[in-house]
Structure formats: structure tokens, C-alpha cells
């Protein structure tokens, strides 16, 4: 039996995933309207989700935010949803962090991330992979793989 390491060449890798029910987002929009949008999404995200497939896109972004929260692996700390933003680089979704979460990512040594979104008729999903810098104490001790 082996314990599979959670790092590559000393760089720790974190993964988060989540799935969101598109009807749930539709229901929240119907019940709370702009308050729901402004509490969860940034102005840029709201703008990006205009038009066709609006609700599916919002659901995918909500899933992305929850996926990022899981990648932080600190369940009992505050995660303001608007500090996690999905932007675009051409066709590719890109993760942007703001405020306290940007600071926390720096403390955890986040170096780069890759984000993938998808949706079907009923659900949207997101996966985020984060590569972190090697733990400095492990590097000093020569224990990083």
C-alpha cells in the first residue's frame, strides 16, 4: 500500500468541484431578484451572463465559487462569494480573487489555477485545479518530492 502524494515536484496541488441545480438559481432569481445577484455575483459576472443561457451561466459561476471554496480547504472561515470572480480570457474561464480571499490564497501559496465550467439542461458544474508553491519548511528539510 502507498500513500499517493498530494504534490508534484514539491508543488502542492488542490482541487475543488461543485454542481449547482439550474432550477435553484432560477427560483432564487424569481424570489429575490437583484438582491440575489448582487449578494453572490460581481457586476462583471452579471454582465457576462446576459442573454441566452443566462441562468445556466450564473449556475456555473455559482458552482465555480463553491469549487474554489473547497479548494481552500478551510471550511470554517468566511467566503464572501463576490470575492471569487469568474472572468474570461477569450473562450476560457479564468479565476480572479479579491479582498480577503486574495490574501488567503497568497498565504496558502497559490501560484496558478485552471477552471473548467460545464452545464446540461438541469445542472451546471465547475472544477478548479490550483498549484501552490512548495511548503518552505518542507523544502528546507529536503522532504518535498
Amino acid at each position: 500500500m502507498i500513500t499517493v502524494p498530494g504534490d508534484v515536484d514539491g508543488h502542492r496541488v488542490r482541487v475543488g468541484c461543485d454542481v449547482a441545480d439550474i432550477d435553484d438559481v432560477e427560483n432564487s432569481l424569481a424570489a429575490f431578484g437583484d438582491r440575489y445577484l448582487r449578494k453572490v455575483f460581481t457586476a462583471s459576472e452579471i454582465s457576462d451572463c446576459r442573454g441566452r443561457n443566462r441562468v445556466s451561466r450564473l449556475a456555473a459561476r455559482f458552482a465555480a465559487k463553491e469549487a474554489v471554496i473547497k479548494a481552500f480547504a478551510e471550511p470554517d472561515t468566511a467566503f464572501p462569494w463576490r470575492e471569487i470572480e469568474v472572468t474570461r480570457d477569450g473562450p476560457l474561464p479564468v479565476l480572479r480573487l479579491n479582498g480577503t480571499l486574495a490574501e488567503r490564497a497568497q498565504r496558502q501559496g497559490w501560484l496558478s489555477s485552471s477552471l473548467s465550467l460545464s452545464h446540461a439542461d438541469c445542472h451546471a458544474m465547475a472544477v478548479v485545479v490550483v498549484v501552490c508553491r512548495p511548503d518552505e519548511s518542507e523544502v528546507a528539510a529536503g522532504t518535498a518530492n
Binding site: 435553484d24 438559481v25 440575489y36 449578494k39 455559482f62 462569494w81 470575492e83
Partner: protein
């Protein structure tokens, strides 16, 4: 009773598999079927019910994990000076 109002909000917006009016105040609401997205609706409905606003620092999973935890946070927000 604050807890009764909270349980009513959970019954309307928590999308749980059981009636939240009948669960123990310490029961884990996520274990009972509440999703992270449903907790957003619960938060917005609590803001309406108690005329409060949840600040960023309480937007954590544990805040919505039980009727007891929700009541503690709502009570602190209700008491905050405007």
C-alpha cells in the same frame, strides 16, 4: 420566538428532506439536505424577516449549519446598532 421564525424560513427556502420545524436545534442542516445554494436563499429570507444584513465575515458554512448557529448570528445582527 426567533427560532420559530428561523425554522419557518428554513421550511420555505432550505429545500431540506425533513421539516425543519421538527429538527433538533443542533442538527446539521447540511446533513439534512440543505445545499450551499439553498443557504443563500435562507440568508436573503432571514435578512427580510429580521431586517438585518449578513456582513461578509459571517458568510461561512458554519453560520448556516444548524438552527442554533443561525439563531446566534441573527441575534447578534439584530442587536447591532444601525
Amino acid at each position: 420566538m426567533m427560532q420559530d421564525q428561523i425554522r419557518d424560513v428554513l421550511a420555505t427556502h432550505g429545500r431540506m428532506a425533513v421539516d425543519p420545524r421538527e429538527v433538533d436545534e443542533q442538527a446539521d442542516l447540511y446533513d439534512l439536505g440543505m445545499t450551499s445554494h439553498a443557504s443563500v436563499d435562507v440568508m436573503l429570507a432571514l435578512e427580510d424577516a429580521f431586517d438585518i444584513e449578513f456582513p461578509d465575515e459571517v458568510l461561512k458554512k458554519s453560520t448556516f449549519a444548524s438552527v442554533h448557529n443561525i439563531a446566534q448570528v441573527v441575534e447578534s445582527l439584530v442587536k447591532m446598532p444601525v
